[in-house]
Symmetry: D2
Subunit: 421 residues, 4 copies
């Protein structure tokens, strides 16, 4: 990043190089390098991310391939080696010239395993900054989050703010897999005030929702059904058909009831099974999730979903292995922080709005809970950004006009100070 | 192959290097090389395999990767280049010293996309000739077919047989995808008598079934369901869930009725859908097949299966594309050829037996039908080989004691002549 | 009803004789008789219920059997004949001694097709007023609604209230089938103010929620799948299996997605198919429903459910007939009426509360909408009543202590007048 | 029956009055009366049918209603009372003038729970002898079996035959529920030679297949899923949806694999669940069956089907009760009896044929097994009868020209004697 690099250019660079959870070697190392060059105290790797507390870590060969790709591209060699094996967290700290509390901002680094649209009216395709790494895409705005965080860091480098600012760049937000590792490493232990902001959220460009309510708890599961292969024509009865069990489970999971008085969600998002039309498939692997606006309801829902999986396996004489690969809790926003965001929004000339219809999960709640348990405060807010398609769709795109708005609001939040409110 | 190479050694070499349909670059080129060295007339590539008549050809990058792997191993460079792009058929011809008809033997080259067992009591693992190429395995005995054909070729090289012998080494028997391309190229047009033999078939070592009845017609389909991705929690209603449609179709296909008076089979053998637990899957790809002991019944069954696919797609607002990727017809054995095989069996000291319980398909029937349409005769027979597991299972293994029996019977069939019967 | 009959005795009498929608011959005729004896103007039959505007009317023989049962019990012969064929609506009107608007109260008459619990701790069983008519049960509190309306009518017979009071006793609230017929007959056309109250609703005894928000729109469908019978063993392929299509549809309907920002519901509540284990079922009949807190969302959901039904039928070569047998719209409460109820609640010594978690539909909204379209006002409120089990469960029971509370609140609402607020 | 009553008139009388299994009060009592009037020794009720050995007996009120209907029609009062409660078996014995063995003929009495076609080209409708008892129909030819047995009895009343003839009229052949009760009562214990004949079977009128091979073993199950009712909108999560479990089970049962080398069948033939669209169904009742041409295969299939039922119940937290309500074994025909039938066929001028394509079960095998275990012989043969529709379809109809053929062949079988062959 040169002094003249714009937030839009930063975002486009990250958009071009999307890396999925725990594989953000280029993204994290380059962000660390920018922050170090700006004079921030930077820590990476196992110092800020407890390896054993991560969930849903990819297989070693996947991590290694991503590491090598980053090394062969333009990762920052000062920080890359410490991240090997999926330790892709970054924490940067800067003390301001005025006294005050420790105030943290979380930004998430990861992209999604999704093929980006190459339609001519998809802006990244048209403007030439579409994903160069096939099968991955920044379809949730995290590219913008990192760019905004770095631009904010540049502005705050004048030290004209109260207290200490800490930027927490977390891996693997998708799936709720990364935050708990950073919390376990203690990066939130001395934080007094915690913010996380998300672009998009169904809010129009130019608006800010100072407190997104109803963040969902969720559980992410990987279910593996194991049967027995056989020739599908010569001896079908000798097989145990793992795919049939998985198909029954897929339908079954999606028949879970609504819960009165609550928002709940289920989704089977991936199923891979079998090799050939004439072999009874001996294995089926499924990724699925439950969500609810209440932790106890999510637990009930997860238990029922596990019943569905076990019952489906039993129907076809299959063995079943269910692994928890992600888990997110709920958290509540502190009203006084929402007020801070609201004032900063108005000061930045943006419009205050209520939450959009959409509802999601974010493991930023893991940081919030830890801070709140220690007597601190937390707030999760939304920064409007028009998009032609919903989050996680192949034509999702952040309206880049939202990026300077985000920087302007955040700068005011951090310069104003929050402890005195 | 040196003069002293045994049929078992040949088989183990092919077993170590399993290549799936249209990727048999090493297997086919080395077999061609052996036959050429023995003095046979050898033709390969598009001369013996009409590219456009193949079904279910892998994607170009898959073919190219397999080609490169073969080139980097020990493929025969004399024949390899002509096979590029999946033209992995071989035809070898030799005229004997006595007058007689053109008599062909089909051997199939391909392995299955199956991970081989590494259990200590799995003979290939124990003896060190298990698959070196992960994810592929000779689990149907084709390694033995090629080895037996080459050993037979060596013996017949003394030219002491009537007429002309033609060895037809076909790719992609699994799935019924390769024979039709060779038939289209005309390799069966001047054949008077056609044989195909299969090892195993549920028959014990030392036995031969001179005519396997009831070969099934089949249809292999690739179905692609296309929906719309969306964030599974924030906007599930904006998605169209391709996996739900495919799961309903999977169950639906397997609920097809039995047909009174017939043997039928259905199988969904592969399903891949989705990327992540929190995205509504926008695509699902399925491989499936139907079989019946009667062509008209198979057509009826295929039509019903297509109704299931279309209805399932309609349930969830999905687009559906169904492609025929394999098709096999039925054929009848000529009794006079069964007599020839029976006599050869007895002459070789083996035991004549009836067919085993298993029933399958083999696109050798495409050659048989062409020969029979031209006034010739055909016969498909089974050569017993014990195995600890059924065909297409990860612990399938051909009892190697069956290989010399196969060679002995076939040698007698070809030396005896068939036209005079 | 004698002058000393209590509201509890009335309720127990109706509880003993539960009649499902359009079969409320005893309930409606006796209520009409009570009201006539009290001096109210009573109209019944086709004068207050347009036959053709009803939805989901039972078959003629079912109606006739219920009619005969009522006639043989203790129906009121003055009103029974006009109700024959399911015309079981009653409208009673009384003009007060003071000037004022026309103020209506809706009470619903019907029971549910549910077997009542005979557990010893189920109060109606213990106290001897459980359902005498097997297979039907007042499991939604409508017995209490009618009793409360009659007790209210007795009190208001002193004419000491402003304007005109109209009691609208509607059949077939369950399923949203009856109100539209009474609206079509014009019974709400001259109403200025409309109230409906529901007992229970998850609210504790002694509380009143002055305005229940979020009444759901719904659509009730009857789907009939028609296939072809055949001997399941001798000729299964000649059948078209209606039950398989209906089973696929059942699962499919329940896999409908949540809608972000909305409450939605789907349920397949009944499926009947087939006759014998060895016959391929030729018919399957299904009752199902969709609900949403927004009319457009319910339309979208209904459309998707119809896609599921059509797709499932297509999977198995079935004919499909889908009939709309019930439909309820949404409606909003007028705040000034909620204020009236709130004041009456406090005046009666009861506690004002917010809505419970549960959410349902009520075709009282059809009256409300008509009144509001004519410039009038409407309000739907809840009267708390503890129950050991949820609505529509076989152990549901209204805490009878709630009945006098309901009468007291309603009496105050009607005596106070509403036009002056 | 008068001396001039024809076999066709007899058949039409039974066709008009179809009675399902264990409800054959009119059919059985009238047949008993005819046989008694002809001078045969007749035994009925618990003397010939062990009540506790019956399977799948209807509920007492169903039995009683059928009994009353028979009593009010024209049942034979001499025999009716002994049959009360479903003891609808009849055994009639006659000793001939010549020495010889005990030779039995089984005829089955029951109709199917199927609505008969009233199409104008359906012969029973056109000729006025369609079912008078709605919901039941002789759609398997048993009406003809009884008529033929009675006409045969009339002819044999001249006593000009060797040995003793025993007619065994069994209830509830459909579902395999009746024969075991008669076997348990000992009616086959002294039988030396046992015959059963079936009309239709896909064979044309005028032909006889002297030995039907491959009679299937079967198991009939009644599965009851029990969940918990709840209001489907207000508290869906409090319910346990019995219908969802049953729908998953229905699809699951029909996905059972084919068994190589065998004929197998599965069918879910009835499912009843739920009461109303807005109640979560608390119960689902299912009738289903498995069949196989081998008893061990049928056991394996039944075990897998029970796994499907249990797994489906587990998916949705349901209780499950599975009851065996019918069971049929396999049996082999004795070749020497087939020879007797073949000679009788030729002697009667009919044509000997092979078996049709269709395959079914018949619990006549229970008698056959008992006789064969005692050293006797048994044979199950088919008597061709054209029909416009398959067995168990609403337009099934026996070509009445087949009836005299049946009588003629049977008369020759019984007069010829079998012991001497």
């Amino acid at each position: 990043m040169t002094p003249s690099t714009t937030v839009t250019e930063l975002r486009r660079d990250f958009h071009r190089h999307p890396e999925v959870g725990f594989c953000e070697f280029r993204t994290a190392s380059r962000a660390a390098g920018v922050l170090a060059d700006l004079g921030w105290d930077v820590a990476v790797g196992s110092d800020v991310l407890a390896p054993g507390a991560r969930l849903g870590v990819p297989a070693p060969d996947v991590l290694e391939a991503a590491y090598r790709r980053a090394a062969e591209t333009d990762a920052d060699d000062r920080f890359l080696p410490a991240m090997r094996g999926g330790l892709t967290g970054v924490v940067a700290t800067l003390r301001g010239n005025h006294p005050g509390p420790v105030v943290a901002l979380r930004a998430d680094l990861d992209a999604l395993p999704l093929a980006e649209s190459d339609a001519p009216d998809h802006v990244p395709a048209r403007e030439g900054f579409g994903s160069r790494w096939a099968g991955a895409m920044h379809a949730c705005g995290h590219d913008g989050h990192v760019a905004v965080a770095l631009d904010l860091a540049r502005r705050l480098s004048d030290l004209d703010f109260p207290g200490t600012v800490r930027l927490v760049l977390q891996p693997a937000e998708e799936g709720g897999r990364g935050a708990r590792g950073m919390v376990a490493a203690g990066v939130a232990d001395d934080v007094d005030v915690f913010f996380a902001a998300h672009l998009g959220m169904g809010l129009p460009t130019g608006t800010v929702c100072p407190a997104i309510p109803g963040l969902l708890a969720n559980s992410k599961l990987r279910a593996t059904f194991r049967g027995r292969a056989a020739h599908a024509s010569m001896a079908p009865e000798q097989g145990r058909h793992a795919l049939l069990g998985a198909a029954a489970a897929t339908l079954g999971v999606h028949t879970m009831p609504s819960f009165s008085g609550h928002q709940t969600r289920v989704n089977v998002g991936l199923l891979n099974s079998g090799t050939s039309s004439n072999i009874v498939p001996d294995t089926a692997v499924m990724l699925l999730e439950t969500r609810a606006d209440d932790g106890a309801v999510n637990e009930d829902l997860e238990r029922r979903v596990r019943d569905v999986l076990a019952g489906s396996a039993g129907m076809y004489g299959l063995e079943l292995d269910v692994e928890l690969v992600g888990a997110v809790t709920t958290a509540l926003n502190d009203a006084r922080l929402a007020d801070v965001v609201e004032r900063a929004t108005r000061a930045a000339g943006a419009t205050v709005t209520g939450p959009g219809a959409g509802i999601g999960s974010d493991d930023a709640t893991a940081f919030m809970r830890r801070v709140q348990e220690n007597g601190g405060a937390g707030c999760y807010f939304g920064i409007g950004a028009d998009s032609p398609a919903p989050h996680h769709a192949s034509r999702f795109d952040v309206d880049e006009a939202a990026l300077p708005v985000a920087v302007a609001v955040l700068e005011r939040v951090f310069r104003a100070g929050t402890a005195t409110n």
